[in-house]
Amino acid sequence: MFLFITRRLFFALLLLFAVSVVTYLLFSALPVDPAALTCGKNCKPELIAANRVRLGYDKPLVEQYWLFLKGIFVGRDYGMGQAAFSCPAPSLGYSFSQHECVTTLIGKTFPVTAFLSIGAFILWMFIGVGSGAIAALNKGKWQDRLANAFTAIGVSLPTFYVGLLVLFSVVIWLGILPFPHYESPLEDPVKFLNAMILPWITLAVLSAASYTRLTRNGMLEAMNEDFVRLGVAKGLTRRVVLRKYVMRSAMVPIVTIAGLDFAALLGGAIITESVFSLPGMGKLSIRAVVESDLPVLVGTTMVAAVFIVLANVIVDISYGFLDPRVREK
């Protein structure tokens, strides 16, 4: 098991390295002069040239990448003398449109995304697994048909549509909630909840749909298993059979997919954050795209990649704990 984990982690690092190379090269190949973006419209050519040197864009691409990579581990200093400034490790570069270290920007926006993701995740697991279980236990009845309809609608509706729909209906038409304005939960928990509740619902409803289907089908499949029949034949109560036999078996794939979905969300829920103007990592990425802020783009992409790769490793490892048949290998 230890060997399995170390090997898995080693390959994860290798993969992240590859992702960083590709991302860096890809974004560097964009037809944008990063130095020109540092100082707005009426910028003197001398200043652009100076900034280019200061940010290291005059160096060859390989060296630029090397400096980027080194920055992650030891931090990075820009410029010399009076104008010098530095981004401490782990540095992912310096945003020339927001004039801050990328790591600082991510540090500011990540908590928002994390709160959004965690809340939505909890909500969607409850809704998805709950409605799936109800549908499976009432196969063919109205509960099942309702869950099916919910699934079909949920998986086919786009996020921005549902987000706007929720926003318009709750805030503008019904006026139940004031327009969301994000505040840190430590400073103003009420405002925080007010800003979060609609995005949570939006994300949860959409993601829950596929979990409804997954849970329903997993449980129905499990119910036909011989070992479930043996459980009934033992004289176990229905509740125990459902918990220890049916759900246990149906949960394995759900846990796997939930881990990956959650990680993807941590990389930034771009659309949801935009619709509800949450200052999260998704919003940061979008702004970086609009402003061609390459270091921020590379940074957020890398962070998202780390989450996804890490989640893959964790899911692989937890699979061994969830299913004893996998543990051996």
């Binding site: 196969k139 063919g140 011989d226 070992f227 043996l230 078996s249 299913d323």
Partner: protein, 341 residues
């Protein structure tokens, strides 16, 4: 004859399923009695209703689509009328079941020890941990699993098919049931392991005097372990006989076909097995009259009775045997003697 002591009385059991294509009559009007310490075999090909009969005895069929009628009496209680709670008390303690495929019958997520323990604890809620643990080791020893202390901590996938079936048997017998229903317990196993599992079941039967209902399509298995035999075809019992009588003077054309399809070493036509022409009928759309008539060589001898009238079980040959066939007794015995080996 020894004093009979019925532990299971099945009367007029019928089971049908609602399917999108129509109603499937899986079991029709099946009656039999199972005696203490005895083994009753049910034999028939796939789709003859033998497995449905077995699972409906414990009411394991899907309660939404299945309709069951008749009565199943265990120690004076009718299981068909029992409440869910009463049923749960009986399942696993008075009637236990061994399934066909040991590969899928055990819960892959729990150790085998935990699964045996669970079966015991359901019916002994006040048992202490050490008592349960002792029972688990005791059962694993009984069913012949070497190194039981250690192996009880293993998961099902760490056992071979034969060993898993032994564990399924350990689970079934942990509460000393009066009745063991074995639904094709050896079909999924290697031939050498088959004999071991049958021997194990018989020796445990000799020890605790349980009655065994053995469902199989294998006449060899029947010959080896059963005392009485029911032959099923298309959801009906077509012949009921002592095992010796069934092999010596079978009294139903379907049984003749089955016996003809068994190979034996002294057969003069070695290398060539007789088959029963045609295929078993669809249970959605049974033939009129005797369900076997389209495949029966003798159906022309009865002036069209076979096509219109469902025959009922009547004595045709030996004393304890009965057969559902329109042929005259003399004719049945004549052919039966020819076919019997």
């Amino acid at each position: 004859m020894e004093a009979s002591h019925p532990v299971l009385i099945v009367e007029n059991l019928s089971v049908s399923f609602e399917t999108p294509d129509g109603i499937v009559h899986a079991v029709n009007d099946v009656s039999f009695v199972l005696h203490r310490g005895k083994t009753l075999g049910i034999v028939g090909e796939s789709g003859s209703g033998k497995s449905v009969t077995a699972s409906s005895l414990m009411r394991l069929n899907n309660s939404v689509t299945a309709t069951t009628s008749g009565s199943v009496q265990v120690s004076g209680k009718d299981l068909m009328a029992a409440s869910d709670d009463e049923l749960r008390q009986i399942r696993g303690s008075e009637i236990a079941m061994v399934f066909q495929d040991p590969m899928s019958a055990l819960n892959p997520y729990y150790t085998v020890g935990a699964q045996i323990a669970e079966a015991y604890e359901v019916h002994h809620p006040n048992a202490s941990k050490s008592e349960v643990q002792m029972k688990v080791i005791d059962m694993m020893t009984k069913v012949g699993i070497p190194n039981p202390e250690q192996r009880s901590k293993d998961y099902p996938h760490q056992f071979s098919g034969g060993m898993r079936q032994r564990i399924v048997i350990a689970i079934a017998l942990v509460n000393d049931p009066k009745i063991l229903i074995a639904d094709e317990p050896t079909t999924a196993l290697d031939v050498t392991v088959q004999a071991q599992i049958l021997d194990l079941m018989l020796s445990l039967q000799a020890e605790n005097g349980m009655a065994i209902l053995l469902i199989t399509h294998d006449l060899g298995v029947i010959a080896e372990v059963a005392r009485d035999v029911l032959v099923m075809y298309a959801g009906r019992v077509v012949e009921k006989a002592d095992v010796e009588d069934l092999f010596e003077i079978p009294t139903h054309p379907y049984s003749w076909g089955l016996l003809g399809a068994v190979s034996s070493l002294d057969d003069s036509h070695r290398g060539q097995l007789k088959t029963i022409e045609g295929a078993p009928p669809s249970l959605l759309n049974l033939p009129t009259g005797c369900a076997f008539h389209p495949r029966c060589t003798y159906s022309s001898e009865n002036n069209g009775q076979c096509e219109t009238l469902v025959p009922s079980l009547m004595q045709k040959g030996p004393e304890h045997s009965s057969s559902a066939c329109h042929l005259q007794s003399a004719r049945v015995v004549q052919i039966g003697r020819e076919v019997g080996k």
